[in-house]
Amino acid sequence: MAPRPDWVGSMLDVAGLRAGYAPVEILHGIDVSVGAGEIVALLGSNGAGKSTLNNTLSGLQRPFAGRVTFDGTDITGWPSARIVARGLVQVPEGRRVFPNLSVRDNLELGSYRRGGSGRTGNLERVVAIFPRLKERWHQLAGTLSGGEQQMLAIGRGLMSEPRLLILDEPSLGLSPLLVEDMFTLIGRLNADGLAILLVEQNVVQSLAIAHRAYVLENGLITLAGKASELADAPALRKSYLGQ
């Protein structure tokens, strides 16, 4: 791996980003940043533009305007393969695991573009984090439960040795007990040094583990700040907690 640049600042910098499904603009100029070692929560309800932002960051959609900088490099409009190669990796909403491949093959494909040399060690690491996956090793991913598929999707993301991991709604569709586990895990990954952009509807638990947070509404950032301060912000409490 290349040595880290001396350049200090945000790992991911999004400036004035406009994106959507042409001709409809969904994001109307977004500024977001994630620093090294940070967990940043991006909160917003359905239809706020969270997925559009993720897909634009991951290169699945091309932005209309604005700039995305990762690690000091302008990656605006890059195809997804090059973005993954840089270490900006997304674990998508709805898991998107390969249903016709075994758990093991799913994980191996996680290192298709990046992390191939460390594959064996990374497989062991993922299994240590999710022992459940080892029990399902040769089973087709399509036959796993929702929670297991979420573990697999995160494990697959970790196989590419991400420098920054975008987690899109990791708690969606999980039982309350599993949601608890999921947030504990996210905290643990971050404690090991991984920068995380956590895109969630689950406001309370996201703010509890995040360092900073943004609130996205109708394609605009309406609130931004330290997670602990946002948790008490009247506007947020009104919109999401009904008080």
Binding site: S58, S80, Y112
Partner: protein, 290 residues
């Protein structure tokens, strides 16, 4: 009642013919499995590959079996470039457009072949074409034995590549989950083109194996592709094992049908077994309902 020895010979002959059907059908089913479209240009591309084999022999004196690696590589490259440069570009990401483009390509290829090569049938003349091998009571042409063994070996190699290699896994991943594939950094358009190229490479191999005993004309791909369509549906759309089993079943049915009912009427056996299997298993022998 027919002599069991004749039945035995008929089954063996059908099995040998089935090898080629398997090869053509495996290419078709691979393209279907990944791109979710029927490649209507399949027959025309087989015809072009057969002309390539013919001209390699006629102009350069290259034996069709020696030409095997050259034609396979050339067909793969042609398929890759055809997808990358034309089919993928013009489809704008919509599967149904691919269907129309391949249909259009078939018409273009057929007529260009007619223009350049005329409608006359061409054959190549190799010394071993008439060699007969006796197996029990059956007398089998040596080129058909070679083509069967080579076809099965190539399908086996392809099967192992698809099951075990990183590329094979990526192709299967793209077949079912394109967005997930993009998010692990798979270049999906590249994989599409590779899958299409492999499908056409199967035709290149089939062309080399066919030419010692078959003729080529601008329409000679059609007969095989009609059988390949039947094979793919019979075996289950997108299933490798299905295409293999289907090709052999069709080969044997055709041969036995010809034996019992005569060459022309024998073809009816294919339709009968096709209808019968689809009645019992609407998704085909190895197909899975979506």
């Amino acid at each position: 009642m027919l002599d069991p020895a004749i039945i035995f010979a008929g089954v063996l002959n059908g099995l040998l013919a089935g090898g080629i059907y398997v090869l053509v059908a495996v290419g078709l089913t691979l393209i279907y499995g990944v791109l979710h479209i029927i490649n209507f240009a399949h027959g025309s591309l087989l015809m072009l590959a057969m002309y390539a084999v013919f001209f390699l022999w006629r102009l350069l004196g290259i034996d069709p079996y020696v030409a095997l690696p050259i034609v396979i590589a050339g067909s793969f490259a042609f398929g890759y470039v055809l997808y990358r440069g034309l089919i993928g570009r013009l489809s704008h990401g919509r599967d149904e457009n691919i269907l129309l483009i391949t249909l259009g390509l078939a018409i273009v290829f057929d007529n260009v072949a007619l223009l350049l090569f005329t409608g006359d049938s061409q054959t190549i003349d190799v010394a071993y074409a008439g060699t007969i091998v006796q197996v029990g009571a059956a007398f089998l042409p040596l080129p058909k034995i070679i083509s069967f063994l080579a076809a099965i070996a190539l399908c086996g190699v392809l099967g192992v590549v698809m099951a075990r290699s990183q590329l094979g896994k990526a192709i299967r991943a793209v077949a079912r989950e394109r967005q997930g594939a993009r998010l692990v950094g798979i270049d999906v358009e590249h994989v599409f083109a590779i899958a299409y190229g492999i499908g056409i490479a199967c035709l290149g191999a089939a062309a080399c194996l066919l030419m010692p005993t078959f003729y080529v004309s601008p329409t000679s791909g059609h007969a095989f592709v009609l059988i390949a369509f039947t094979t793919v549906v019979l075996g289950g759309m997108g299933s490798f094992v299905g295409a293999a089993a289907g090709g052999l079943i069709i080969g044997i049915t055709e041969s036995l049908g010809g034996l019992l009912l005569g060459e022309q009427l024998g073809q009816i056996g294919i339709s009968l077994i096709f209808i019968l299997i689809l009645l019992l298993r609407p998704t085909g022998l190895f197909g899975v309902g979506r």
